[in-house]
């Protein structure tokens, strides 16, 4: 059994594992955030473990179990999906415990410290878009969750790898051959999954907040270069709330926070197949608009 720490600002996770695949991938993906040299003086926010299932399962279709403290939020997955499971487990841990932020299921990218949220369901192409933007002049704050400071429209980075699925895997590898990729977790409930490390500039700016200026709901559509539909605030509000992890628990404060974000942002729904067009549109209409 090995123990390592991941410092992913603003949290520190201490993780125990006996699965080599987890160690290799964590080291590769988190680089300087990864350490096996546990310093006594480090403040650990969450103690996690990801280990082989007990019993004969260790030898016959081995499984990985994820635990946060002593709780097991998910059923075990195949051991080849262990690193992906750790990533999802860390998401769960933050979503289940952190109520100081209003947390929205959304990718966050910024330019000139102006941030755009991309809340979207799976299959919308959100992660491919995130990967593309993060490699083309945009700063990645998060692929999965926007941590919004309460009663402000500022979002805090939580820089994690981008989770790519199925056909996006080959696309991304062709577009960004220099990026760092985890091993492929095959046959998950989302299909094949890979994690692409955040660019080093994004990790370096892991404590720099950005101001939310736009909320864009992406929909990948193979036969459409770029169609843009402005959205009204009410519609956007409802969508953002339904993508919030802790809206009901945080209650009034979360309502105020999301209202403020909505009031100070531009809202669009887009249908696209050309990522460069999307990037240009975001730049002109949101970041550099007056």
């Amino acid at each position: 059994m090995k123990t390592f720490q991941l410092s992913i600002s603003p949290f520190v996770f201490q993780i125990e594992t006996d699965i080599p695949l987890v160690l290799e991938n964590a080291k590769l993906i988190y680089q300087s955030g990864y350490t096996e040299d546990i310093q006594e003086s480090t403040y650990v926010d969450y103690f996690l473990s990801i280990t082989f299932s007990n019993g004969l399962r260790r030898f016959f279709r081995p499984q990985a179990r994820f635990l946060c403290d002593d709780r097991e939020p998910f059923k075990p997955l195949h051991a080849n999906q262990a690193f992906a499971m750790l990533e999802w487990g860390m998401n769960w841990t933050v979503a289940a415990h952190e109520l100081d932020y209003a947390i929205v299921h959304s990718a966050v990218l910024a330019k000139d410290n102006k941030a755009i949220l991309f809340p979207a369901p799976p299959g919308s192409g959100k992660s491919t878009l995130t990967a593309h933007l993060s490699q083309n002049g945009w700063r990645l704050l998060s692929d999965e969750m926007a941590l919004i400071q309460p009663k402000t429209n500022r979002v805090r980075p939580f820089v994690r790898p981008v989770c790519l699925k199925n056909s996006s895997i080959e696309l991304a590898k062709a577009w960004f051959p220099d990026a760092t990729y985890s091993s492929i977790a095959r046959h998950t409930h989302k299909g094949d999954v890979i994690h692409m490390a955040a660019p080093s500039e994004a990790s370096a700016a892991c404590d720099e907040e950005a101001e939310i200026v736009g909320i864009v709901y992406p929909n990948y559509k193979a036969d459409t270069t770029l169609d843009i539909y402005p959205m009204n605030m009410t519609e956007s509000f409802m969508q953002l709330v339904s993508n919030s992890f802790n809206f009901t628990v945080v209650g009034n404060e979360s309502f105020d926070t999301i209202t403020q974000v909505i009031e100070q942002s531009k809202h669009f729904e887009i249908f696209y197949n050309d990522l460069n067009e999307v990037s240009a549109f975001l730049d002109e209409e949101i970041i550099h608009a007056n």
């Binding site: 926010d45 299932s53 019993g55 289940a96 299921h105």
Partner: protein, 382 residues
């Protein structure tokens, strides 16, 4: 990093002592408290200390954030349970003579001291036994339905415990446990349900609970007639803070109820351990009188529970005794069921246990129960 359990327990009398640890040691305390389901309680006490102390000791920002997070969940539950209670009363008042909220839900609904920072995973209610069948139907019409359980468990609930399996609301996911007695009737010691009715009171919002004295007795009975002691520390902590609500150093009211229901011995044991663990001064004569009712049995019980009721965690020292824990759990089964039934029950459970050891923990989990690990909008359990 090992935490001394005396220190951990003392935090509930002196929350400021957490400040005496170095910042990087505090997460281990938070870890243990969270696992024992008492972190929000500690958070409540700590914030109370901060508010009341003229010159509070300093605490690091990360620990404060974890405490705020924990306390918020408890506050949210309190809000939620008030809503659920109204819904349950609405569903059941046409069919049951009474709908009494028990344990955690009652503590919250009465705004009592013990309910501050108390978290729980289900709402326990007591209804009139003759109305049990109608209650199940009416709760079903209002969205509370039984989850899928094994045939064996179904049989356990309905045939032996004469109870309804736990119900879950289809939209809100809240769980209810419907009881018609404060201990399962399969045990020969279950009190006559009509005696219990004397202790039903209504609060200002029209919500029924037991009187605080009867709640105290119920908590004692629950603790010493249990077969799961993993988080028994929370129960003993409940009793400690319920003493504030009881607000009678002589405990006369509590003892009256205990005698009436036939649970003086359990109350005696509970008082003994509250005194022992938290170093409080409780009326020794009362405790002695209760324990002397079963001289031999009390010696064994005092020995078994001496470590079982303390917090348990791999980061605590000294290690709690696994042997005593096993005895306590076996004892719990033994007084709950007649021996032949117990033998059958444990054989069934053990058989499954052995298969899980060999085949892996989740051998009996259904495939479709698989929680989508990327769907984080489902609220956390517990």
């Amino acid at each position: 990093m090992q935490i001394d359990y005396h220190f951990l327990v003392s935090l509930f009398e002196h929350p400021e002592r957490l400040c005496d640890l170095k910042a990087h040691q505090r997460p281990f305390v938070l870890l243990i408290l969270r696992q024992q389901k008492v972190l929000p309680k500690f958070a409540y006490l700590f914030f109370q200390y901060q508010e009341q102390a003229s010159n509070p000791k300093e605490m690091d920002e990360k620990t404060l954030r974890h405490l705020r997070n924990a306390f918020r969940i408890a506050e949210k539950q309190k809000e939620q349970v008030a809503f659920e209670a109204d819904e349950i009363v609405k569903a059941l008042s046409p069919v049951s003579r009474f709908v009494v909220f028990l344990k955690g839900a009652a503590y919250s609904l009465n705004q009592s001291e013990v309910g501050q920072g108390r978290i729980y995973s289900d709402i326990d209610i007591l209804v009139n036994k003759d109305d049990l069948h109608d209650c199940e139907q009416h709760l079903g019409m209002h969205g509370w339905i039984g989850g899928e359980i094994t045939d064996y468990d179904e049989k356990y609930y309905r045939k032996w415990a004469h109870e309804i399996p736990p119900l879950t609301h289809v939209h809100r996911g809240t769980n209810i446990d419907v009881h018609h007695n404060i201990i399962p009737v399969v045990s020969k010691d279950a009190p006559n349900a009509t005696i219990l009715e004397k202790y039903i009171v209504k609060n200002d919002h029209g919500i029924q609970t037991l009187t605080i004295d009867a709640q105290f007795v119920h908590c004692c009975v629950h603790l010493f007639r249990n077969e799961d002691y993993q988080t028994a520390f929370r129960d003993i902590l409940d009793l400690r803070f319920m003493l504030i609500d009881v607000n009678d150093p002589e405990l006369k009211g509590v003892m009256r109820v205990a005698k009436d229901l036939g649970f003086e011995y359990e109350v005696g044991l509970a008082l003994y351990f509250v005194q022992e663990i938290f170093g409080l001064a409780l009326p020794q004569a009362v405790i002695d009188k209760c324990l002397n009712m079963h001289r031999f049995r009390s010696r064994i019980d005092l020995w078994i529970f001496s470590s079982v009721l303390l917090p348990k965690h791999t980061h605590l020292k000294p290690k709690s005794s696994g042997f005593k824990l096993m005895l306590a759990e076996f004892r719990g089964h033994l007084i709950k069921m007649p021996l032949p039934l117990l033998t059958y029950h444990l054989t069934m459970k053990m058989g499954r246990g052995i298969i899980q050891k060999v085949m892996g923990e989740h051998f009996f989990s259904r495939k479709e129960e698989q929680f989508d690990p990327t769907d984080l909008t489902t609220p956390p359990k517990g």
